[in-house]
Amino acid sequence: MSALADKLRGLRRQAGVTAPAPGTATPVRRSEPLPDNLRALLGVRRHVGTVPRKTTASAPMALPGRTMAPGLQLCELDSAWPPAPPLFHALFARLDAWIEPERLLLFDTETTGLAGGTGTRAFMIGVAHWHEGRFRERQLLITTLAAEAAMLDCFASWLRLDSVLVSYNGKSYDAPLLKTRFRLQRRPSPLDGLMHIDLLHPVRRRWRGAWENCRLATAERQLLQVIREDDLPGAEAPAAWLDFLRGGSAAPLHRVAQHNSQDLRSLGGILHHFSAATDALHID
């Protein structure tokens, strides 16, 4: 292998390509994920809301959640906030329909990048809905590439024909990306034909020009007074996962999960904000 690699490196240098510094991305074969029972024996739990300590590669940290299938982790969480919206009319999202809150399915993905196209994948799908007044989150995380199909199947099983998707910029980003992944895994896309409320658009219509931008972080601060604590910037999520995939620490994955979880809760809060407002409007 190295003969070819050396030859190619030489030719690339002669062609004027500035070569990536060798050794920046040396792949290290990572050991297989620990079996469930072993993890249980070790008594490791997921630490919700605590700041993960910096760990070195020599002291591996457990993965978030529990193992559903080889390479697939599921984290579940439920909380009182945000409160469930009432039955509301979705006119604010330009949909002429009354929506029962139990049909709502909020989702947000963490991906390997923003490059787009068939080479970008979601490594985490976070989904939330209200159940008996509680906000229930479920996050799927893959720790091997081969587990993608299982993750997609699991996600698809949570969708119903009458589900109403809720996202932030999901119509342009998350949904097409997932459709591409379903297509590459030779599966029908369960997202096709579902009603989809993308909250970015009503936020933009209402506050563009008034706020410095309409990103989720801005909307949550302005509308919900949410302040994030030790948040992993979204742009660092891909590196955290890739580093883990190449044998690095699992610690940053906890921060990715927390970031994703906050995104979901803010999504719920913003939806509640709009639904309450329109509800009042309609009662008037």
Binding site: M1, L4, A5, K7, L8, G10, L11, R12, Q14, A15, G16, V17, T18, P20, P22, T24, A25, T26, P27, T112, G113, L114, A115, G116, G117, T118, G119, T120, R121, T144, L145, A146, P176, K179, T180, R183, L184, P238, L242, L245, R246
Partner: protein, 806 residues
Amino acid sequence: MNALPNPMAQRAVRHDGALAAPATGGDQLARRLERRYADRITGSFVLPGREGSFAPLPGDMPTGLAQALRSRGIEQLYAHQALAWDATAAGKHVVIATPTASGKSLCYTLPVISAAMRQRAKALFLFPTKALAQDQVAELLELNQAGNLGVKAFTFDGDTPGDARQAIRLHGDIVVSNPDMLHQAILPHHTKWAQFFENLRYVVIDEVHTYRGVFGSHVANVLRRLQRVCAFYGVSPQFILCSATIGNPAEHASALIEQPVTAITASGAPVGEKHVLLWNPPVVNPDLGLRASARSQSNRIARTAIRAGLKTLVFAQSRLMVEVLTKYLKDVFDADPRKPPRIRAYRGGYLPTERRAAEREMRAGAVDGIVSTSALELGVDIGALDVVVLNGYPGSVAATWQRFGRAGRRQQASLGVLVASSDPLDQYLVRHPEFFQGATPEHARIATDQPLILLDHIRCAAFELPFREGELFGPQDATPWLQVLGEEGVLHQEGERFEWIADSYPANAVSLRSVADGNFVVVDRTDGRQTIVAEVDFSAASLTLYEGAIHMIQSVPYQVEKLDWSGRKAYVTRTHVDYYTDAIDYTKLKVLEAFDGSPAGRGSAHHGEVHVARRVAGYKKIRYYTHENIGYGPVNLPDLELHTTAVWWQLPQRALEQAFDHRQEALDGFLAAAHALHIVSIVAVMAEARDLQKAVGSGDGAWFATPDANGRAQMRSSFGEDDAVLQGPFVPTLYLYDAFPGGVGLSAPLYERREHLVRLARELVHRCDCRAGCPACVGPVLAVDELEERSLKSLATRVLDLIVAL
């Protein structure tokens, strides 16, 4: 050529079933010119007219389509169109290589439209340029409208608005695009095109002769990716390719798609008699071998033709030249501003609406003279013309014929005149009429497995679909390449799969026109502009973009003011100096491995891998026309090195000692012979001069030879200032090498044709009109000190005689 044949013209022929009476026109003019300018005409020949060979519309064609054809005046097909119909119906991949204006586009539109009507089958058309794609869609829509066929055709290119793209992906029956869009926009987003791919039945690739060299090698790899994505969707589309007449259409088409291809090369379209004249401007300074400008001659010929009432098209090599020639002709023919203009310019850079208006005027016959760049070479239908004048050789015999093909759509004698410029290549070709008679000698070549190009496309392919260990890409096992990409960190191996994990979009970093992405951009700073005007390959940068260099862009001179080596930028301004610059480069080659070798005369010829080290030490300023050396400038740039492939010739010391009195003479002869061999080789493999380079040195890299200020060889052992006189065995070697890292497959065909090339080079030198040597044969020579015996011309001949096969 891509346009549907002009229905009016076809109808006129077919109703009376025979050629129209031979009309006067190009033939008379040809005879007149031959009488008056016999000394300027180096070749004259006539291609006889040919009656059409027809076949009925196929019975298995959908009736709606047949009606649409009839309503457009097409009652029957040309024989080659019918052959193409049968071959595609039999499921074969087909290449159609017939002359300009023979109705090639019907060969693919008929099966494609039939399949769309019958099975809603989809087709992808690839054209090298956007303008051609748009013309093709316009034609398809007309045919569709004529028969109300319900087939939807769209262009998909960089100009397609975002909101239209979705509709095109879902509803287009025929999507007309180009290789760059396929590479950068369609394949990396193939899931969005899933419906299109699942129903993809035909891939049509027109103008495949333009896909050669580096560009062609890239396109072949894009087609590998296309076929890989098609396999994912469970389809294997049929390919229909079209080519201008080249020497190896079937071989070339098959190299591009890596499948067996049926070639259709005999045209059934009727053609009028065609006269061809090769024209060399008269010598105005015999001592310097200086000739009158091509421009003056083209102008004169066009003027004569237009006065004789013949519709005339002049092809010029640059936009500037188009404007100059247009002005000259307008001064004569458009002096009266009250009358509609008779002369029109046509070139790139016009808005689509302007172009359409110009085309309409030309078709309507309102224009008597058109001056154009290569923009008119391909496709665009401008109606019938009588005379085509080429102001300078367009770079290949195929392109020459394609341009000549612009004249003579009607059943009437037409005339094509090639006016040679002072460029050595022009001078060579204009003296070899045989190149333009009979079969074209040019072969389109590609190197699909060029290591860097392959790496780029395996990278792109891995982004599109994961690879399995052991999976083939083309005929190659991709695994070692995948491991290299894994080391780079863009792929992740898990079990036996390699998956893309980087956050990047690799197709954006791969240009189909260069070997790797180290290109320099040329930034024009004239009058406060700050715009990119050209791109230069890394390997050519040090030879053409040093500070002080006069850099020609489309024949317009710019001076390089600043070169930012690490930023890969050259800043230039427009200039009007009367000289050009020539890099003084020291090139030292060393043979690494010979793949093959054979005796060549008293020496030997080889093909193999070489190491090239090159330093640009300075440059010369050379005055136009007189070729005087009017100054030097220093260059300080990093040395370049290159592993590439080469063909080389060597003579043993004994043979040299018998033939030459001094080593100096032998070396002079080698340099001069290299010049001649280089010229003929460029023609033989349709290469650009800068893609194939020449050098003379020792086979073991101990020394190399460069011409000094007088054109005499200087032996050097290093790039340093002083050189010791060399001892030891003296085995001079003449190299022709591929100027790209890893090579792009130019040297193998040169080796195959080595004997022929040496003979051609010998003949080139022998038949040159100069006395002692000139840039058109053995390179620039100072006119003074030439004794017949020791002239470069005779020394070159001596070397070539020694290496020519006995």
